[in-house]
Symmetry: C2
Subunit: 274 residues, 2 copies
Amino acid sequence: MSVADLPTLQREALAHAAPAAVRAAIRERRWTGNTKRLALGYHQANVTILPERYAFDFMRFCHRNPRSLPLLDVTDPGYPHPTLAAPEADLRTDIPAFCVYRDGQLVERVSDLRPLWRDDHVAFLTGCNLSIDQVLLEAGIRFPHLVREDAFPAQYRSSLPAREAGVFRGPVVLSYRPVPEAQLLRVIELTSRFPLCHGGPVHVGDPGRVGIADLAEIDWGRKPEPSPGTVPAFWACGITAQAAALASAIPEMITHAPGHMFVTDLPVSDRTFG
Amino acid sequence: MSVADLPTLQREALAHAAPAAVRAAIRERRWTGNTKRLALGYHQANVTILPERYAFDFMRFCHRNPRSLPLLDVTDPGYPHPTLAAPEADLRTDIPAFCVYRDGQLVERVSDLRPLWRDDHVAFLTGCNLSIDQVLLEAGIRFPHLVREDAFPAQYRSSLPAREAGVFRGPVVLSYRPVPEAQLLRVIELTSRFPLCHGGPVHVGDPGRVGIADLAEIDWGRKPEPSPGTVPAFWACGITAQAAALASAIPEMITHAPGHMFVTDLPVSDRTFG
């Protein structure tokens, strides 16, 4: 039976599935799309894989920029299983798609990392805004990416600098949500309670104040539709890591493909893990 | 004027002083004692200084054991100023006393680290239970170490294993407080709100359940007095790091002397730093 013959799944069937079931569907190629609204209530993670010689610099970079890069887990060199976030999972097979960068350039997109995995690879898992979709839905917040299948948040390089660490430096990347005016305070309050999902917004209002001249000029994600009656709000974004790694022109970095996150076993409701 | 001629300070004079003033008093040797109840309301930090080649292992060890080792700051190799926790401070001079360990043995106690500091030294600052003294005092909790000048919490190696990372492994070290029965739930609630100060207790009740056969047989700190009407409560403790570093017999580790912490600029009331 070829991959094409396997039954495909609808997003709604996986929205309320356990994280392990979602990862199995991804591993068996029954789900190859983005992970928006999958395994609601569990942390989804940005994944950045680097050679060990950059790992301590990068871990300090994450720790110093916790709004952009809240650390969920860091693997031992060569060990592809995230001990804290999902010890039974395999990062090489349980993510729908990966991007491979060499010398600061995207060179390949792959769905199976096993042929490329090395003994000196270290994987960093950092929190993601998609993880609080369920919290926002339950509170009656209907962001476009939550109600339209083809919508996805837009991300922009901002004029805010990330704190440097070793070779890693660059702009804070921001993700954009149009917030209905009447819901703004509630959205700030709710998101502020979840520091592992980037916490509250970094900026609300005129995008030009954080170096974004035109919302139509996106750097990642999907171009937003005009949203009358909404206020632009911006959250720190995990892509800050990729922007820094690319700017430092390190020889190799492998990441999840945009929107195709790693689904962890960590419940969003538990704000700390010890 | 010799150091002996400088005016000495009373603890109460520094209890409500700003962190920078406390560090200046320490640097100028006007204060040489422990930091209990100094700069109330600000994080005090455990300090562990290691050669860079152990730093990535140790940073993972901290991240995997956040109850024992909540990371406040990690310095760049050779740079003795903690960028996040107190950028104007110098870790080599602003701590009352240091312990120097070589090959797993305490070999020296010094008050000035400048002669020993090297370009490959990395300092790790982790949260400390003393940081919530003010919160507990305001809530009417009167632990012995808060009301008696000569009292200090006792610490014990427990039977609970810390999560391993690289060369670092060992027991979770626990600090002990006798809690009046009527205040137990309140103490659990209050401390649980402060994960950067070790959060809530790991164990309440029979010390034997966590491998502590006799409260009189302390491993660090001061031997506790009998406390009728109290319940034994145990919190994860930053000494977990030192126990692991000693067990791994790494060639060199430098720490603050017990109870002689680094006073940071980080307010305890801000539970996250971004």
